[in-house]
Structure formats: structure tokens, C-alpha cells
Amino acid sequence: MTTVILAAMAVFLAAGLFFALAGTVGILRMPDVYGRLQASTCIATLSTFCAAAAGILYAVHTGMSAGTVVKLVLLVLLILCTNPIANHALCKAAYRIGIRPARDFVIDDYREDFGEQAYTEVTADLPDEQFDRANEPIPAEEEGEIVPEGGEQ
């Protein structure tokens, strides 16, 4: 029985590490922010599940109190509640400040329905030069208008 539990624990840990590795490789290999966000979800979901399952098995194996098991389950639930919100906010913010994908979208309904408003709402009250607007050269006439800070006082 002990061997079975230990073996299952090892399998879960290995699976968790594998999915975390896949997520990390994805973050490094993907060409743009959207792909990286997608790949990073692997780490937050199945990798965490497997690690928590291994932790639960370990707690059972060493005879820890049931509180430890409950804490691990709550940990997973907490990540499930908070991670998608951060991911969604990052993705939407990246889209709205005008970061374009490395490969053009096959279909872009968001732009179709919200038009240019999808980009400009956020950039309107922020200085443009602070943002790295990929693939979008600054128009020549705007460049001349930028006054260096503290230059004419």
C-alpha cells in the first residue's frame, strides 16, 4: 500500500513538473504576448492540480491532519478563482493598448464590432512614446512636436 501511494505521488509530481515545463517552454517559444498568455495557463491549471494531488497523497501517507488536505484543496480553488481574472485583464489590456500579434489574426471579431475604439480608449490619455507599439511606426509629423522635458522653461 505504501509503495502504491508513493508511486502515485511520484507520477503526479512528474506530471505536474512536465506541464509546468511545457508552459515555460511555451512562454519562451511563443512569438507574441497572446500566445505566451495562453501557454502560461498550463502552469496554472493542470500543473497545479497535479502538484496539489501529490501533496495530498503525501499528507495522507505521512499521516498529517485532515487540515493539510483541506488547505491544499483550498489552495487549488483559490488559484482557480484568481488566475483567470488576471489572465483576462492582461490579454485585454495588451489588445487595447495596441499590441499587435506576431502573426495576423485569422479572424478578429473584437475589432470588427468595437472598431478603432478597441485600441484608442486606453491610449488616449497616456503619452504614446511610453508604449512599445509593435509594427506601427510613429508618423513623421508627430515626431517633431515632441518637446523635451524641461527644455523651454
Binding site: A22, Q38, T41, L46, I85, C91, Y95, P101, V106, I107
Partner: protein
């Protein structure tokens, strides 16, 4: 009942349950401290957490459905999506076709909680991220989903592929 008070009670019960599970002891000191902390937290957080129908989830059938959804249906979808993502990440050429697609939501799900749960479930499955959930003039819901590997540009079929099963289950929990 007054809306504010019911929101407060609902949040208080939730916080106290959370506190008990985390502390995992029945000492009087912990119990009293839990009441104080939960009451304070509910006072501040109640109006953010509960907007309508405060006691909707305190219902055995819905709680069991929620547990089944998170533990079985959602887990299975996540495992499938994870394996697809691993295949994509380790493929030598890294060829994918990304896109943002508008998929129609079910008309059964109207509440904020249901919409948020569908959106978050979509975001949590690797390969799809919800950018926005919006409703048109007639009250139909739409989700704007960034899909890493667009298999079909037909919106109804894409919706079925992305969230079909998950949405049907969430429709049984939230209306």
C-alpha cells in the same frame, strides 16, 4: 429582507466557512476570532461579492452540481486542452492560427455570476482566453474569445467547441 443585510449575512457565512476550513480546529479562541474577522470582512466585501439573490448558492443540489462541475466536467476539459497545448508547444514548427472570435452565449444564463463563471472557465482552459463578455440590444450574450488555434470560423460551431459542455453544466447551476 433588506438587500444589504442579506448580502452581509451571505458573505459572512462564506468567510466563516473559509476560516474554519483553513484553521481546522474547534478551539473557542479560533471560533470567536473567526466570527470577528468574518464580520469585518463581510462588512467591506459584501457589496462587491453579492449583487443579487444572496442565498442562491446555499442549496444542496446546486452545491453538489458545482462540485461535480469543478471536479469532473471542468477537470476533463482542462486535461484535454492541456494535452492539445503541450502538443502545440513541443511541435517543431509551432504552427498555429490565432484569432479573436465572437461566440454566442446560451440564453439560459443571465446572471452576472453565470456569465463570470463561463468566462473564467473559458480562460482557464489553455488555448482560449475571454477578452470580453457583452450583450446586444436584444439581450443575447456574446463572448469575445482569443483562440490560439482557430479550427473553424463558424461562430456557432466554435462556441460549441470552446464551451459547449461547460456552459450546459453551468446553466444548471446558475440561471
Amino acid at each position: 429582507m433588506n438587500k444589504k443585510i442579506s448580502a452581509w449575512i451571505s458573505t459572512f457565512v462564506f468567510c466563516y466557512l473559509f476560516w474554519m476550513l483553513l484553521v481546522w480546529s474547534a478551539e473557542p479562541r479560533e471560533l470567536v476570532l473567526g466570527v470577528l474577522v468574518s464580520a469585518g470582512a463581510a462588512l467591506f466585501a459584501g457589496r462587491f461579492l453579492i449583487h443579487s439573490r444572496a442565498f442562491y448558492l446555499f442549496h444542496p443540489v446546486r452545491l453538489i452540481l458545482l462540485a461535480v462541475y469543478v471536479g469532473v466536467i471542468f477537470l476533463w476539459e482542462v486535461i484535454k486542452a492541456n494535452i492539445a497545448m503541450v502538443k502545440l508547444v513541443f511541435s517543431p514548427k509551432l504552427s498555429y492560427r490565432a484569432g479573436i472570435i465572437r461566440i454566442p452565449g446560451s440564453d439560459d444564463i443571465r446572471s452576472e455570476y453565470g456569465l463570470a463563471m463561463v468566462s473564467n472557465s473559458i480562460t482557464l482552459t489553455p488555448g482560449t482566453i475571454t477578452l470580453n463578455a457583452a450583450a446586444d440590444e436584444e439581450g443575447h450574450n456574446y463572448y469575445y474569445v482569443h483562440w490560439i488555434d482557430v479550427e473553424t470560423t463558424d461562430r456557432n460551431r466554435a462556441g460549441e467547441m470552446i464551451k459547449g459542455r461547460m456552459e450546459r453544466w453551468i446553466g444548471r447551476i446558475w440561471k
